[in-house]
């Protein structure tokens, strides 16, 4: 089997995640979908590193994880405070920009 | 380095504006006096400029030059040629009268009215406009000119939208809505023109590499800067459009009647006698100097539009029911004459046009300010509301008549000289257009005399029967203008002597010479 299939998988996961971001209203789930996308990218990086035979791809993936962690922390905090203020975790409720 | 006279002339009113605005609200009268003093001081400076200017000297004199935005070659370049010097003098001359005439226009309204009228603001804005107009006359850097050409709109916008006539046939609310409509219309028209010009300015920079009027004109003259025909034409159109809106040239004129109708008489004078002159002046200085070929290419169309403007404006003036609108349309007709003279490309035409700018400024000021006094007395702008004023207030009627006669350019008054020069200048090159334009003088007589007959003569209307005659302040405003009208009508030499060399220069820029008389040509 050709490891390229890993890439196909990554692409698939990424797309699913993206679609999820678009169609889910629950902020937490949206967040999960973002995580999914990040993971898909990581997978791709790892496969790339295997492809080129050096570890740079893995390094990038590693950094991605760190960033993801940071992002999750902040994001969840935001969600919590959001929930506190308006008693719902729906992203559509936070639509003050609406005219 | 010598004393920066031009900067001072422009800076003085600017500083004055800030100072006036800073006067506490309680000291209203102090603000008025401050504004008056500043404007008079500016007049003194302008006269000094006029005196220091040597008609036979270099083209641009009293020049100042400092780098400003080095990266784009934008410089703070000032310098006046004859035309600019004269127009600066005109501006500085009119502002004191405008201030004096508008003495009470910005007083807080009687209680019960919701509108808040900052008196200081009114005079500060007028001075600000003066400063901007003067510096845009002085600037010899395209970018510098553009900035103030545009910035002018802001104070004008507030002057038009903020301070209207006290009385209005449909009450305060309708008045304010119409005012804001007029102000926005004014702003939009001129902004559109200005933005198109901005594109052209940038284009010019791309082509020429700097903004200096003198350098570019020189490069154009000695051929070191060559423009493709199409490029030149597009740039020309970009500039000309902005100036045509400002001037205003038919059919871009419709903002002027609204603006003049809704604003107080002094502001209306400010619009038509001072601000609009920048447009015609800029045609003469920028369009012809920078794009001589394109100017010649566009001449036929522009001339036709100008003639249409002359006749059209006059006819509409005849059809107006509102005094101020009538004057506005008359001004449109006169601007047609000015543009006609500029693009006739004869020395008579262009000197006449410059002279026309001055004379039209003075005559319109005289007519419009007196009309303003009249309106402030009766509280109505409708011609039909007047009648027989001549019997009640003979002095007012007399000054009004003289203003009207100046508007119809009666020989012996200043406008005649300029109008005839323009006509002759046009006629020598384009007889047909000259003759059509000549019909304008008949129509001018028509609308002026109809206005005078309907308002001043006939049986005295009861509403005007108690109308007081001109007060001292108003007389102080009108009398000097009338004296000036007569003087310049009998002895325009001082102005023409300053203007002629500059016009000769412009003529050489466009490589044009006056056509020879037939008799000599025959020999």
């Amino acid at each position: 089997m050709n490891p390229v299939y890993y890439l196909y998988l990554a692409a698939l996961l990424f797309t699913i995640g993206a679609t999820g971001v678009l169609i889910r209203r629950n902020a937490i789930v949206v967040f999960m979908c973002i995580e999914l996308m990040l993971n898909a990218c990581n997978l791709a990086f790892v496969v790339f590193s295997r492809m080129h035979g050096n570890l740079d791809g893995q390094i990038i993936a590693f950094f991605t994880m760190v960033v993801a962690a940071a992002e999750v922390v902040v994001g969840l905090a935001i969600i919590v405070s959001l929930f506190r203020t308006r008693h719902s975790a729906s992203v559509d409720d936070a639509s003050l920009m609406k005219l | 380095m010598s004393f920066p006279l031009l900067t001072a002339t422009a800076a003085l009113p600017a500083v004055g504006a800030i100072a006036t605005a800073a006067v506490p609200a309680a000291r209203r009268t102090a603000a008025k006096w401050l504004a008056l003093v500043v404007s008079l001081a500016t007049l003194v400076l302008a006269v000094v400029v006029l005196v220091r200017f040597d008609p036979d000297g270099a083209r641009y004199q009293l020049t100042e030059s400092h780098p400003w935005i080095a990266d784009f070659g934008v410089r703070y370049d000032l310098g006046v040629d004859g035309i600019a010097a004269v127009l600066i003098a005109l501006t500085a001359l009119l502002i004191p009268f405008i201030v004096l005439a508008g003495w009470h226009d910005a007083d807080p309204l009687e209680t019960g009215s919701k509108r808040w009228r900052p008196t200081q603001g009114f005079f500060a804005l007028i001075l600000a406009v003066e400063a901007m107009v003067i510096i845009s006359f002085e600037s010899t850097d395209v970018f510098l000119f553009y900035i103030f050409f545009e910035a002018m709109l802001i104070p004008m916008y507030f002057l038009i939208g903020g301070f209207g006539d006290r009385a209005h046939e449909h009450g305060e609310e309708a008045a304010s809505t119409q005012r804001s409509y007029a102000a926005v219309k004014f702003l939009l028209y001129n902004l559109v023109g200005g933005l198109i010009m901005l594109a052209a300015v940038i284009g010019l920079y791309v082509v020429a590499g700097n903004f200096s009027l003198t350098e570019i004109a020189q490069a154009r003259a000695n051929g070191s800067l060559h423009m493709a025909t199409s490029t030149e034409r597009w740039l020309f159109l970009g500039f000309f459009f902005a100036f045509a809106v400002k001037a205003p040239l038919w059919p871009l004129h419709t903002w002027l009647p609204n603006a003049m109708q809704e604003s107080t008489a002094p502001v209306a004078v400010l619009i038509t006698a001072v601000v609009d002159k920048v447009g015609t002046f800029a045609m003469l200085r920028y369009c012809l100097q920078l794009f001589p070929e394109a100017s010649k290419w566009a001449t036929p169309v522009i001339l036709v539009l100008a003639v249409i403007g002359i006749i059209y404006g006059a006819l509409l003036a005849v059809g107006q029911r509102d005094i101020k609108r009538l004057v506005a349309y008359a001004s449109i007709s006169h601007f047609g004459f000015i543009i006609l003279g500029i693009f006739a490309m004869t020395s008579q035409g262009q000197s006449g046009a410059t002279l026309y700018m001055v004379n039209h400024g003075i005559s319109t000021a005289a007519l419009m300010l007196v009309a303003g006094f009249l309106i402030s007395r009766r509280g109505s702008r409708l011609i039909a509301d007047y009648g027989g004023v001549q019997k009640v207030a003979p002095v007012l009627a007399g000054t009004f008549l003289i203003g009207g006669l100046a508007t119809l350019s009666l020989p012996g008054l200043a406008p005649f000289v300029s109008e005839f020069l323009v006509l002759v200048g046009t006629f020598t090159r384009y007889p047909a257009i000259g003759i059509v334009a000549t019909f304008g003088i008949v129509l001018a007589a028509l609308y002026t005399l109809v206005l005078y007959q309907r308002t001043m003569t006939g049986p005295v209307k009861p509403e005007v029967s108690a109308m007081p005659d001109l007060r001292a302040r108003e007389l102080v405003v009108v009398a000097p203008l009338i004296v000036l009208l007569i003087f310049l009508g009998v002895y325009p030499k001082p102005v023409t002597d300053i203007v002629n060399p500059a016009v000769k220069q412009t003529m050489s820029d466009v490589h044009k010479t006056d056509p020879k008389p037939e008799a000599e040509a025959a020999k």
Binding site: M1, N2, V4, Y5, Y6, Y8, L9, A11, L12, L13, F14, T15, I16, G17, A18, T19, L22, R24, R25, N26, I28, F31, M32, C33, E35, L36, N39, L43, V46, V47, S49, R50, M51, G53, N54, L55, Q58, I59, F62, F63, M65, V66, V67, A68, A69, A70, E71, V72, V73, V74, L76, A77, I78, I79, V80, F83, R84, A89, S90, D92 | -
Partner: protein, 280 residues
């Protein structure tokens, strides 16, 4: 792992593993998106992540594989679950779309994007694989460490800073500054009396009810559930279970019997009204 894992083509074992686990991963991803309840989404996401960890290992990224399990499924997903708890485990949000055309647009974009991506990968000439053999020659972790502390040291430092900032940010966001002195018991009591509602403590849940549970509203003597009895959080989450109907039936039966025994009509309990408006 054996170096042949990282060889040009993979072993059938890996292929098998890929196909099986890949399918599961995709299913997990899909269920993450389409599960009604956030908890379920979280769990299926966790599953997908574990599978990804396995794939990392398979691709010779041993360190990342472990990190994936520890950090993601260990830390991050737990964090998620905590938040889910906070918001309400059983809260099921409807998948019904509110924005017009949003769902179709989303699907369209998704499909189009996916197709494009796949196409891109397909026509990218990715024929030759070096494998991570010599890269991992002296240990994957050492290799990574060498890179991190030499080539990527600045990025590493910056990520460190980022993490700290994130932690502080999280605290700032969630922490609520108490602006005034907490009220003492006495003050609270006085306030209650002054306002004149619930002078007695709030009624306990589950009273008069079969289920002695915290999420069941206590019933008033006439059998209707009283909002006051359930905690605010549950009310906000809409997780109050209502048993009033059968309770009412029983009550009616009971009253009948009572009337049969001693002939009198039941009087309305006086405190009901006021408790009603108190709940509002």
């Amino acid at each position: 792992m054996s170096p042949q894992l990282a060889a040009y083509t993979t072993s059938t074992g890996e292929a098998f593993q890929f196909w099986v686990l890949g399918t599961v991963a995709v299913i997990g991803a899909l269920s993450t998106v389409f599960m009604k309840k956030a908890v379920h989404s979280a769990l299926s996401l966790a599953g997908t992540m574990i599978i990804l960890a396995v794939f990392y290992l398979a691709n010779g990224a041993y360190f990342l594989g472990i990190v994936q399990i520890v950090v993601y499924t260990g830390a991050i997903m737990m964090l998620f679950l905590f938040v889910v708890m906070l918001v309400g485990v059983t809260a099921a949000d409807s998948l019904k779309e509110t924005i017009k055309g949003q769902r179709w647009l989303a699907l369209l974009c998704g499909v189009g994007f996916g197709v494009l991506l796949l196409a891109g990968i397909a026509n990218a000439s990715l024929k030759q694989f070096n494998g991570t053999g010599q890269a991992n020659a002296n240990g994957n972790v050492q290799g990574l460490a060498a890179l991190i502390f030499t080539k990527y040291v600045f990025a590493f430092e910056i990520t460190g800073a980022l993490l700290i900032t994130a932690a502080v940010g999280a605290m700032v966001l969630t922490h609520r500054e108490r602006t005034e002195r907490p009220k003492t018991q006495r003050e609270l009591a006085e306030q209650r009396v002054r306002e004149g509602k619930h002078v007695p403590p709030l009624p306990a849940p589950g009273v008069y009810a079969r289920h002695n549970a915290v999420d069941v509203a206590g019933l008033l003597p006439d059998g209707t559930p009283s909002e006051l009895t359930v905690s605010k959080t549950l009310r906000d989450r809409g997780q109050v279970r209502d048993v009033s109907t059968e309770a009412l039936n029983d009550l009616r039966a009971l009253e009948q019997r009572a009337e049969e025994r001693l002939e009198r009509t039941p009087v309305e309990p006086a405190h009901r009204k006021q408790s009603e408006e108190a709940s509002k």
